[in-house]
């Protein structure tokens, strides 16, 4: 199996109360296991606070789990040697839930998009320039926008810049944390189509966090549902939709807003 996550657990400890005398524990992930084939899209669904971003951050190696293991094409992700970490960071990219704080306000869009290419030394300055220009257009913005700064863009435009930055170094795996929820449906359609097309062309694997079941249905092959850090549902999207095991999944399916 290409990606295999086994028995992953993570607890946040928190001191609180008068003089920090109380300790409370939040079990963000409890014994979570799943697998995914290369080139497929796994949707990670679950209510707010259920542990989705925690899982994404652990896979990105931005956070240490308490226990468990992750393997990607047989590589032991949690025990990667120092020399190999840079290669891992090129292989796997993340589009963050909060696009506002993940863009450096002092950089122009050109700098933001060129930076990962320069870090990973992927071409001559001219090649990098051409690539930056190609990817800004892929997300529906223009060459004109490249010399501007993040705060001069709308919310949805900034999200698209983050998407371009993740795609530009052509990773194998992309972890998307609510990448399209801040976008209007037209741009959403455009980005989802783009992600799908790239997936086919480059055999990309997606881990796709979303709370929108309409999007799950559209993009994902497999899905898992988290609830309070526990994995409560796992399977092919069509099967889960037809036959949800838990009440939460059923409620999600039933409470999609509007009827259109």
């Amino acid at each position: 199996m290409y990606l295999s996550v086994k028995n992953l657990s993570k607890t946040y400890l928190k001191r609180s109360g008068f003089l920090n005398t109380k300790t409370s524990a939040i079990h963000a992930l409890q014994d979570v296991s799943f697998e995914l084939e290369k080139g497929k899209c796994l949707a990670i669904v679950g209510e707010s606070g259920s542990g989705k971003s925690t899982l994404a951050k652990i896979i990105m190696k931005l956070l240490e789990p308490d226990s468990g293991s992750i393997h990607i094409s047989k590589q032991d992700v949690l025990n990667i040697s120092k020399q190999k970490i840079k290669a891992y960071r090129k292989k796997i990219q993340m589009i963050f839930q909060d696009p506002f704080s993940s863009l450096n306000p002092k950089f122009t869009i050109t700098q933001i998009l060129a930076e990962p290419l320069e870090i990973h030394k992927t071409g001559t300055p001219n090649q990098i320039k051409a690539k930056v220009s190609k990817f800004i257009k892929l997300v529906g913005l223009s060459d004109e926008d490249l010399k501007r700064y993040p705060h001069q863009f709308s919310g949805g435009q900034r999200q698209r810049i983050c998407i371009a930055r993740a795609l530009i170094i052509e990773p194998d795996i992309i972890v998307c944390d609510e990448p399209v929820s801040a976008l209007d449906v037209s741009i959403q359609a455009q980005i989802l189509e783009l992600l799908k097309e790239l997936q086919k062309k480059l055999n990309l694997t997606y881990l796709f966090i979303t709370h929108d079941l309409r999007v799950v249905k559209y993009i994902a092959d497999e899905m898992i549902v988290l609830q309070n850090g526990n994995l409560v549902e796992l399977g092919a999207v069509n099967k889960v939709f037809k036959n949800p095991k838990t009440k939460y999944t059923q409620t999600l399916i039933n409470s999609i807003p509007g009827s259109i």
Partner: protein, 280 residues
């Protein structure tokens, strides 16, 4: 029957300073009927957030705006900073599109919400804490999260802290910029119900920016559709959804992913759209 309006925006135009020809918002006029929910929908970059920010005069200093903003007979565009500050957060509250940048990372979320309350009410610290904890549970955040810092909360929890903070002073007008995008449908429903309840109980007026026509269908009385800085269609929400008149609204309604099929999504064909609009 025409309802009384609480906010009137007349000929609002916004452009970067010294670039009058680059109109980001172009001659926008509308009313907000009192105690009703108005939704603004429209494509990314069409000027929704700028319109909302200019109501409370919080536009970036790189931008300038022209036009009239009248709230409860007060001409907001003529008020000074001090007068505006006393209105912001009490009579008019705003939920911003980016929750992380509007929460201060060095203070606990409970502290920040209780400070918002104390800024406009005479209360003891203890009373403020009780009310803040109540506001948290109203949006589905356990009261014991009071002492957490923003980065110790999930994305959706932070968004709900912002909602709690905006609602805590029971504003007359709530401006909410994409407040539920990070929330799953069940929590979203809880938040929309809360807004709906407050709206009924306190005659609150709501300006709700969203890109989700499903949400519009669920909560809006009135809807404004924006396209490239202009309002291209406005009216009663139900009839616009059923019978959209403007080509952009029609196209927008067509590209919503559906739960019932895995159809190819149809991103808007802007060339075709512009051609249709030229015929209007």
């Amino acid at each position: 029957m025409p309802t009384e309006s609480i906010l009137t925006v007349n000929h609002l135009t916004i452009n970067p300073i010294k670039q009058v020809e680059n109109k980001l918002v172009n001659d926008v006029s509308f009313h907000l009927p009192k105690a009703k929910i108005t939704c603004i929908v429209g494509e990314s970059g069409s000027g929704k957030s700028l319109t909302a920010l200019s109501i409370v005069k919080l536009l970036s200093s790189q931008l300038e705006s022209l036009g009239e903003i009248i709230f409860n007979q007060k001409k907001l565009h003529e008020l000074n900073d001090k007068q505006l500050r006393s209105i912001r957060g009490s009579e008019i509250a705003m939920i911003f599109q980016d929750p992380m940048t509007s929460l201060n990372p060095v203070f606990t979320v409970g502290y920040q919400v209780s400070e918002a309350l104390l800024a406009h009410h005479k209360l003891t610290k203890n009373e403020a804490r009780k009310l803040t904890e109540k506001a948290f549970t109203d949006v589905g955040i356990p009261a014991d999260r009071y002492d957490n810092y923003p980065d110790e909360l999930s994305g959706g929890q932070r968004q709900r802290v912002m909602i709690a903070m905006a609602m805590i002073n029971k504003p007359k007008l709530l401006i909410a910029d994409e407040p539920t995008t990070a929330l799953d449908v069940t929590v979203q429903k809880q938040v929309l119900d809360l807004i709906n309840n407050l709206q009924k109980k306190h005659q609150m007026t709501v300006l709700f920016i969203t890109h989700d026509f499903g949400v519009v269908e669920d909560i809006a009385d009135q809807v404004l559709v924006m396209y490239r800085g202009k309002i291209v269609e406005q009216g009663v929400a139900k009839s616009i959804i059923k019978n959209p008149k403007h080509p952009y609204t029609k196209a927008l309604l067509k590209c919503i992913p559906s739960i019932h099929s895995k159809k190819t999504l149809q991103p808007i064909d802007y060339l075709k759209l512009e051609r249709e609009m030229a015929k209007l």
